[in-house]
């Protein structure tokens, strides 16, 4: 007998050739996310400039660069910062092409999409550069949009440098060393492990559904299945929390968290931090004095 789940009803939508089902798309997205984490780990173990830095110095310097980026207003200096992210990526043995693709495919693309209306006379009135009626592109509009896009790209670039050149465990050690409570650090560490475990579970359940289904199924049917699976993941999460806690107690957990801090900054790390501070000061000075608003 054909199981009910595999039965193709007359009204059931057929799967178009080449079209991916919702289950397949979700499984692929999850596999992509897991693959991304593994790739981040590989990149973080390369012998590049950023990878060799003490994670605390790196975190402080990148936050400083992200903050300075938010203070810079001139297009030339924002371009300098975007180029700086790419130079740092290259110095860290990261492919500049993949780095730029990643930055522009996410933050850059949405930056362009969201800032496009701001370039028109509707949002930013001023001298018209391209006449398109009420949606004419204006000179100040282009400046507003360009500034936003470049700032978003620079900010995303600095963020990606941390993600691609730092192991998660090193980042946690850095957070611990910078005064973040051990409890928070331990929770972050456990969360990342559980995310990977739950993602694998969710990927498998989607692949299992994909392999059982002969038709794409209706949106309503798929929605029902997704809701039921989410409830399963919720129950599984709560059950796992109980199991993990029992395992912690069995191993003698008394409520105190072990400290992960054993970092030592070298002269090179201090030099890097000093260079970053000097570079940030220069960027801000040039932005304010050479390109005043």
């Amino acid at each position: 007998m054909i199981p009910a789940v595999a039965h193709i009803g007359d009204a059931a939508p057929r799967r178009r050739a080449g079209a991916r089902s919702v289950a397949r798309r979700t499984a692929d997205a999850i596999a992509g996310a897991v693959g991304e984490v593994l790739e981040n780990d590989r990149l973080a173990s390369l012998p590049g400039l950023m990878q060799r830095l003490d994670p605390r110095m790196k975190a402080v310097s990148i936050v400083l660069l992200a903050v300075v980026t938010s203070f810079v207003h001139s297009i030339p200096m924002l371009l300098v910062l975007v180029v700086a992210t790419m130079l740092l990526a290259a110095a860290s043995h990261v492919s500049v092409g993949s780095f730029a693709r990643k930055v522009w495919a996410s933050a850059g693309f949405f930056g362009v999409l969201l800032s496009a209306p701001a370039a028109t006379a509707w949002i930013t009135p001023g001298p018209v550069v391209v006449a398109l009626g009420p949606l004419s592109i204006t000179a100040p509009g282009l400046l507003v949009a360009g500034r936003l896009i470049l700032r978003v790209a620079a900010g995303a670039g600095f963020g990606l440098l941390v993600v691609w050149t730092t192991r998660w465990s090193d980042l946690l050690r850095a957070l611990g060393a910078m005064g973040v409570p051990d409890l928070v650090v331990a929770t972050l560490a456990m969360t990342q492990k559980q995310i990977m475990s739950l993602l694998r579970t969710v990927e498998n359940m989607h692949l299992a559904r994909e392999s059982r289904m002969l038709s794409a199924g209706s949106a309503r049917e798929n929605r029902g299945w997704v809701v039921e699976r989410m409830a399963f993941v919720a129950r599984r999460s709560m059950k796992t929390a109980d199991d993990v806690y029992d395992a912690m107690l069995a191993r003698g957990f008394t409520g105190a968290m072990p400290s992960l801090v054993d970092l030592r900054a070298s002269d090179r790390d201090w030099l890097w931090l000093a260079a970053t501070v000097v570079a940030c000061t220069f960027v801000l000075l040039i932005d304010r004095m050479v390109f005043p608003l």
């Binding site: 798309r25 936050v63 993600v163 409890l183 559980q194 969710v202 989410m230 929390a241």
Partner: protein, 336 residues
């Protein structure tokens, strides 16, 4: 709703980053009191669940999909303070491991999605569900709570975007960060969440609560919430008292223009709008009863009447839903 770096100016993100730290500290203290040593695995799994739920593609219509945030759901399962920490951790991991959401905007993102969304959603859930064991009433309450929670969080994000041109601009008035004024940013964020993301969040939350109520109702036991309704009513009263501030705002909200304003702006009024524009005359046009001259008093009266109507309808709805699923008066006979 994840705000990347570059959209918010330092004046905004610095304030929000500073504001989120004491909120995390309070949440940590509350959670420590209620969850004790068990907090680490429970928060970790709550955060992991929060992250994973966002990975589920939910079929909507025409082959398109969306995803839920799940903050209200987590608040119902763990309590609002624990949800604030769990969702914050998920957001921090999204920013630091997956590059989703900005480093400088972590405070803003956590405020919107880890504080406003679960708290609004949870307290509305409590208000509508009461202490009723009814599955239907709880599911509907969870749906309403999650819907309002995500819409309010989106409006908060819209306000954060919308104030940028006001507080950071060039001498000629051009925006330095997010360029859209409040009249564009707030309706845009609100409308897309009212019409698209809100219903997805509501359907998913309702469905999961219904399934959990059937399969493992212990998970839905009311979590300690530190006299929630008292605070909710106090906050609600303050908001009602603050409503006359709306009169001070010049102009009309974006997209809510009347026929006369359209005639002034466009030079004509679309025929359909002119025909249907006066079809319905409301009891309090312009948010003020006709017999009150002072606009501030009128606005306040309208706020009180409107709020009383909304609360009354929600209360009645709750009563009706609870009655539908009352347990049988006597246990079935013949069982041992």
């Amino acid at each position: 709703m994840h705000i990347p770096d570059g959209y918010l100016g330092p004046q905004t993100y610095a304030v929000l980053d500073a504001a989120i730290i004491p909120l995390w500290a309070v949440a940590g203290a509350k959670v420590k009191k209620t969850l004790k040593a068990k907090q680490v695995p429970l928060l970790a799994l709550g955060a992991a669940f929060s992250f994973v739920i966002m990975m589920f593609n939910v079929p909507v219509v025409g082959g398109s999909t969306g995803h839920a945030v799940g903050a209200t759901l987590i608040a119902i399962l763990l309590g609002p303070w624990a949800a604030a920490i769990a969702v914050s951790i998920a957001l921090v991991i999204q920013a630091l491991v997956f590059g989703d959401g900005g480093i400088t905007a972590i405070g803003a993102n956590c405020l919107n999605m880890a504080i406003i969304m679960p708290f609004v959603g949870f307290y509305i859930y409590r208000l509508v569900s009461g202490d009723s064991p009814s599955t239907i009433r709880r599911s509907v309450a969870a749906g309403i709570g999650s819907y309002v929670g995500i819409v309010v969080a989106a409006i908060a994000a819209g306000i954060e975007f919308g104030i940028q041109p006001l507080i950071a601009h060039t001498a000629s008035g051009h925006a330095l960060y997010a360029p859209y004024p409040l009249s564009v940013a707030v309706p845009t964020m609100a409308l897309e969440h009212l019409a698209f993301f809100g219903p997805i969040e509501a359907v998913i939350t309702m469905g999961i609560i219904a399934v959990l109520a059937k399969q493992d109702s212990r998970l839905l036991q009311m979590k300690p919430a530190a006299k929630p309704l008292r605070w909710l009513w106090a906050g609600f009263g303050v908001l009602v008292l603050l409503t006359p501030i709306g009169v001070l705002a010049p102009g009309t909200a974006w997209g809510e223009w009347g026929a006369e304003q359209l005639r002034t702006t466009l030079g004509y009024v679309p025929a359909g709008l002119e025909k249907l524009g006066g079809a319905w005359t409301s009891a309090m046009p312009g948010y003020a009863p006709a017999f009150i001259r002072d606009p501030l008093v009128g606005y306040l009266v309208a706020a009180v009447v409107g709020s009383a109507l909304v609360v009354g309808i929600a209360w009645l709805l709750g009563r009706v839903l609870a009655r539908k699923e009352e347990p049988p008066a006597t246990p079935p006979s013949g069982t041992t």
